[in-house]
């Protein structure tokens, strides 16, 4: 093969590579749209019969009678997520500040791998831990002080398990945000005689607030969608919980628990696919917003 021909072959190969890779990238971008459309398409039957508002605020979930009210499940999700954030936010914030502003590099070398390990533990193992430790603790130790009886399978159990599960995500994003702050800001404050903590309170936290908020939104959306671990410890009773010791039935758990029978009852599959669509849309929006905020922060501080 002479040289000109060989170069032509290389150019054609290049062209094929470039275009097929471009094609795959563009296809991959339509992915989210495809998921959204297919879930919507599956949930159209129920949206034709009931208005979205009625479905979201309906209290009764009786698939056999054709009543599909998502309200208890939405409340269950909100309760469990709320508890998880209340527990994990202060822990993560304090620990992230400590790790990025105070801790000796040696300590960081121990702690960060451990957080990675925590992040890698599968949800179902967290669920097992919940059943082994958290649920008995609540039913025998904690609940008797407050209510007459609780099985332990409750909002609180779900919240505690979820809190531990979202810790790795929250801490790592927090630490990244603190690391992105220009060091000069801290030095300026310290040189004026502020203590470390005053600098953190008045400079670091204030300056990184948008990023921290975005990280919390990210953690909330992770908690929203967590399924198996929550399903294992929440009790799964379809009423809106009134206290943290009541059982709850979050939206993802509903979806996971009923897939088996959904083909046999009319509209059931549409209702469940609607719940998947709801989760998808909410979490997509949350994620997109917080990622955009985080990207912007990275850019602003990089200057």
């Amino acid at each position: 093969m002479d040289k000109i021909q060989y170069n032509k072959y290389r150019q054609i190969k290049e062209l094929v590579f470039r275009n097929s890779m471009l094609f795959m990238t563009v296809i991959s971008l339509s992915f989210a749209v495809v998921i959204g459309i297919s879930l919507y398409y599956k949930s159209v039957p129920i949206l034709d019969q009931h208005s979205l508002w009625d479905l979201l605020t309906g209290e009764n979930w009786k698939p056999l009678k054709g009543e599909f009210g998502f309200f208890p499940f939405i409340m269950g999700t909100l309760w469990v997520t709320g508890i998880a954030i209340i527990i994990s936010l202060p822990l993560c914030l304090l620990s992230a500040i400590y790790l990025s502003e105070y801790a000796h590099p040696y300590l960081k070398k121990i702690v960060f791998p451990m957080i990675d390990v925590l992040a890698g533990i599968p949800p179902v193992v967290y669920g097992v831990w919940g059943i082994l430790v958290v649920v008995p603790f609540i039913s025998t130790t904690l609940a008797p002080h407050f209510v007459e009886f609780s099985t332990g399978y409750s909002v609180l159990a779900g919240g505690i398990v979820l809190a531990i599960m979202i810790i790795p995500l929250m801490i790592s994003v927090f630490v990244e945000i603190f690391a992105a702050l220009p060091g000069g800001l801290r030095e300026a404050s310290l040189s004026l005689g502020a203590t470390n903590w005053q600098t953190i309170k008045k400079v670091v936290l204030r300056k990184s607030f948008p990023g921290l908020a975005a990280a919390v939104v990210l953690a909330i959306s992770r908690a929203f969608g967590e399924t198996i671990a929550v399903l294992m410890v929440c009790g799964n009773v379809s009423i809106s919980p009134k206290s943290v010791f009541d059982p709850a039935y979050p939206l993802p758990a509903l979806l996971a628990n009923n897939y088996g029978e959904m083909m046999s009852i009319p509209m059931y599959d549409a209702a469940l696919m609607l719940s998947a669509l709801l989760l998808f849309v909410i979490i997509l929006a949350f994620n997109a917003i917080s990622r955009l905020v985080l990207i912007r922060i990275e850019k602003n501080f990089a200057l």
Binding site: Y102, M114, I283
Partner: protein, 284 residues
């Protein structure tokens, strides 16, 4: 002077609180592992990892979890293979072909960051609709496809992170020697091997431990599948189903399965660390 004392005190209080918070987080990790090991270890036996469930398995008689272990491995191996096939071209394209500040590249990164946050149950539901649409039953193939969708964002994000750090000079050097961009790929790929290994280990960990995505799609069976069309058991589902049994011996197996799964995941994340450290020493 009083002012100074107050601010010193405040400093000390908050520092203590911070240390306590860090300690609590570390302890909770230990508690999880200790709880799983303490409950799982007595239930472990050689039969658990070497036998498939026997006739009376679900009333507490003989058999083990080999079906779930092998099933999980099948699913993960299949989906890593498919996942790399999809994600490598995308990462290579946005890093080597597109200019540094390209809108398309930024949008792609953003969209996979967002997809990474989508819960696995939604992917499971999507996989299920896809399965119905294609006329598949719950099977190994459907499970592999769903887990592939789940891990593609992880693969892309973590490979991209390493590939972005390849020095621009290296690309320039390859191009200036007359290589086309597709020929340059070979040079760059060699540089990011540790990144790819880490990404694969991460996604194996995620894929093997995820229950919600395979719940709809992979089914469950007591035997080891011999073709892509058969249903397949997975470790997380083995834990999940057996824990809901009222029989204590069956529940024990769930704890044994949890121990096996935790062990696998710990090995993966530790070796991931080891690899990325080993390779990063040789990096320029």
């Amino acid at each position: 002077m009083k002012h100074v004392r107050i601010k010193r005190l405040e400093e000390r209080i908050f520092k203590t609180l911070m240390m306590a918070a860090t300690l609590i987080i570390m302890i909770s990790l230990f508690m999880i592992i200790v709880a799983v090991v303490k409950r799982g270890l007595p239930a472990m036996s050689w039969d658990m990892v070497s036998k498939i469930p026997g006739g009376g398995f679900y009333i507490g008689k003989e058999g083990g979890l080999l079906n779930a272990i092998v099933g999980s491995l099948y699913i993960v191996i299949g989906s890593i293979f498919l996942g790399l096939l999809f994600s490598l071209p995308i990462v290579l394209y946005i890093n080597l072909y597109l200019p540094e500040k390209s809108r398309l590249a930024q949008f792609t990164r953003l969209s996979f960051d967002v997809l990474f946050g989508i819960p696995s149950i939604v992917y499971g539901a999507f996989g299920f609709t896809l399965m119905v649409y294609l006329g598949l039953r719950s099977s190994l193939l459907a499970g592999i496809l769903t887990v592939t969708i789940l891990i593609i964002p992880i693969l892309i994000r973590s490979i991209d992170e390493v590939m972005r750090r390849v020095p621009k000079e290296m690309k320039d050097a390859a191009l200036s020697l007359g290589a086309t961009r597709s020929e340059m790929i070979r040079v760059i790929l060699r540089q990011v091997v540790p990144g790819i290994i880490t990404a694969v280990l991460l996604s194996v960990g995620r894929g093997i431990g995820d229950a919600a995505s395979v719940l709809f799609t992979a089914g469950y069976t007591d035997s080891i599948p011999t073709s892509l069309g058969q249903p397949v058991a997975t470790l997380p589902l083995a834990i999940f189903f057996q824990l809901s049994s009222p029989i204590a011996e069956v529940q024990d197996r769930a704890y044994a399965a949890a121990l096996i799964l935790t062990f696998i995941v710990l090995i993966l994340s530790l070796s991931g660390r080891y690899y990325s450290r080993k390779f990063s020493k040789n990096k320029i």
